[in-house]
Symmetry: C2
Subunit: 364 residues, 2 copies
């Protein structure tokens, strides 16, 4: 249903049903006598991919309470910070993290320069495509692979490598480019928050430079608003004597768990007003967001839709030992703290926006 | 002299002498036939505290070349990044760094909680105010003092401590609050760049959280655009069970020398288009700025005005062993690379803006 959105000078949006022009005209007449009630836009209803329910209502309420100047909980624009975990929160993280698939593909691409990998684990397992053994990789195995495939190049060269891969690689179940594996409802929340003066950040346990390579295109978020795990860089000189930054195979920031609030503060000097996650790795970020009081929005995406996406986690009564999951303890903490659990099955009318250009989905 | 500033739709400013209304009217007549030539503002001439000369001209030329849409060197707004060192570049760093004075004052304030400091060096020297011995402190001594005075509190408590100190402390020569020790010409450059779509950053060897405590008020720059040396923080819980960040006495980022380009990229994912410094600690930042080619602006402040501020450095034929200086080798590199040296004596009509409210100096 199309609605007129009547926007006041301070950005609060009041939806009106366009099928009731009499009401709209009455409000316009009233409006003409009120200061700050001039800008009227015919605009789609916000959050069209969200079903009516407590999750959608929590978002609308939060934005109204923090951006309406007459609200006692009004937040000045410079403090409007919203942080989003990525994997499982803004895009698909199953059957494996996208960045791990990238790392495995890089092992294959780099193998000609590393003949020793043919017999050296964990590289051998990747090269022979032993999926069962790959699924059993330890965190140490994965770290070895990430360091070998993410370092040793300039920051600019790495970005090009990621972009080239993103342009070619496809998700194994949906057969779509990974840039299409982003959740349409979350793009709508990001855009809705930005429309109300919020600065949106990705705060990911994944690689900061990996996400920066595509975040403007996929999320409409610039590189300086991507906070992630980061390798050290080394400033040095190329053969022309120009200053360059080389990526070193050494972790500087581990942006997961307690690392999330620590790095959010390192990068912004602020606490978020809203935070979105989906797993135990996001717990501290949500706690930190809630910690300072006032109107705050904490939300967790629950993957309970095996038909349209994936279902996993003990909250569904399913055993799950994979990393990045939503255990019962987190579910209990969410209920106890008043965090809003988003049911993909019940709260989202659609999950993906296949076919719709990304640029339309993330910009005004 | 007041001038009219005629601003085109793409933000390029063309100054016109208001004392020649005939010329202005002729241009307005022409303007009415041209698209994108409508917005006219009566505005002060930019950079009023700068003398005419190569330094001022370099700034004006750089902004014109990178923001005029018909320029072959046009830079899209999202890539307009300008970085400023702080101590000696945007405010006074003599006779000692402001933050060291803060640290010494904190030793005095914290002494009652540390009776052992009465006999323990380097604290004893600070407590007995032995200025000669303090001037000979090693880097190790200074690090010991900084760690003892900057850690062990929450990030919010530290900010309050810095703000309280800034409100009371005064510069020993000028007897003004440190917030007034900022160079008026540099505030004008920052504002001029922001007026043309540049995002201004402080990139300091000093403490990130120290500078963030006052940067909005002093420079008009928000916390997320302050990049500095940083202590680790530890996410933990207060007695009420709320998530807090404690400052740990351990260096995470040493934002000097090669650390400057490394951290600029860590925070922004970009190379600056313009960079301003005053010492060897800024060399790599300026090289990195210049490295990618295109229109770039690299500037170094030379302290050659003992009467109005301070004069130091071998470029003046004066011996100088203090940290944060401008050695002959840097001067030679500047000349070789086409970096612009700003003579405080010759290029700046005024150095301080005493009396004028800071808010007027940093905002539109």
């Amino acid at each position: 249903m199309k609605r007129l959105r009547l926007t006041t000078s301070y950005g609060a949006a009041l939806p009106f049903d366009a099928s009731k022009p009499g009401l709209v005209l009455a409000v316009l007449a009233l409006c003409s006598t009120m200061p700050g009630c001039a800008r009227i836009q015919a605009k789609s209803e916000p959050l069209p991919s969200w079903s009516e329910g407590p999750a959608k209502q929590a978002i609308l309420d939060f934005v109204r309470r923090t951006t309406d100047k007459v609200s006692s909980e009004f937040v000045p624009p410079e403090d409007r910070i919203a942080t989003f975990d990525q994997d499982g929160t803004t895009w698909v993280s199953h059957p494996i993290y996208t960045q791990l698939q990238f790392a495995f593909d890089r092992v294959v691409a780099l193998a000609p320069q590393h003949p020793e990998w043919k017999t050296l684990e964990p590289f051998r397992t990747v090269l022979v495509r032993d999926q069962a053994a790959m699924a059993r990789f330890s965190l140490n195995d994965l770290e070895t692979i990430v360091m070998a495939t993410h370092g040793g190049v300039t920051v600019e060269a790495f970005r090009t490598i990621v972009r080239d891969w993103m342009a070619r690689a496809k998700h194994p179940r949906f057969h779509q480019p990974y840039s299409q594996m982003v959740y349409q409802p979350m793009l709508e929340v990001m855009r809705y928050l930005r429309d109300h003066g919020y600065k949106t950040y990705i705060v990911t346990g994944g690689g900061q430079e990996f996400v920066r390579a595509y975040a403007q295109q996929v999320y409409g978020i610039p590189p300086e608003q991507i906070i992630g795990s980061a390798l050290e860089t080394q400033y040095t000189y190329n053969q022309a004597g120009q200053g360059i930054l080389m990526r070193e195979p050494k972790l500087l920031l581990n942006n997961d768990l307690a690392g999330k609030p620590e790095d959010i503060y390192l990068f912004t000097g602020k606490r978020p007003r809203a935070a979105f996650g989906n797993s135990s790795g996001d717990r501290q970020m949500l706690e930190f967001t809630q910690g300072a009081g006032g109107a705050r929005l904490m939300m967790l995406v629950l993957h309970d839709d095996a038909l349209r996406e994936f279902a996993y986690g003990p909250a569904l009564g399913l055993p799950d030992t994979r990393i990045g999951t939503f255990p019962q303890a987190l579910y209990d903490e969410a209920r106890h703290n008043g965090w809003v659990v988003i049911s993909m099955k019940n709260d989202w009318k659609r999950i993906f926006g296949f076919g719709k250009p990304l640029v339309e989905r993330v910009t005004d």
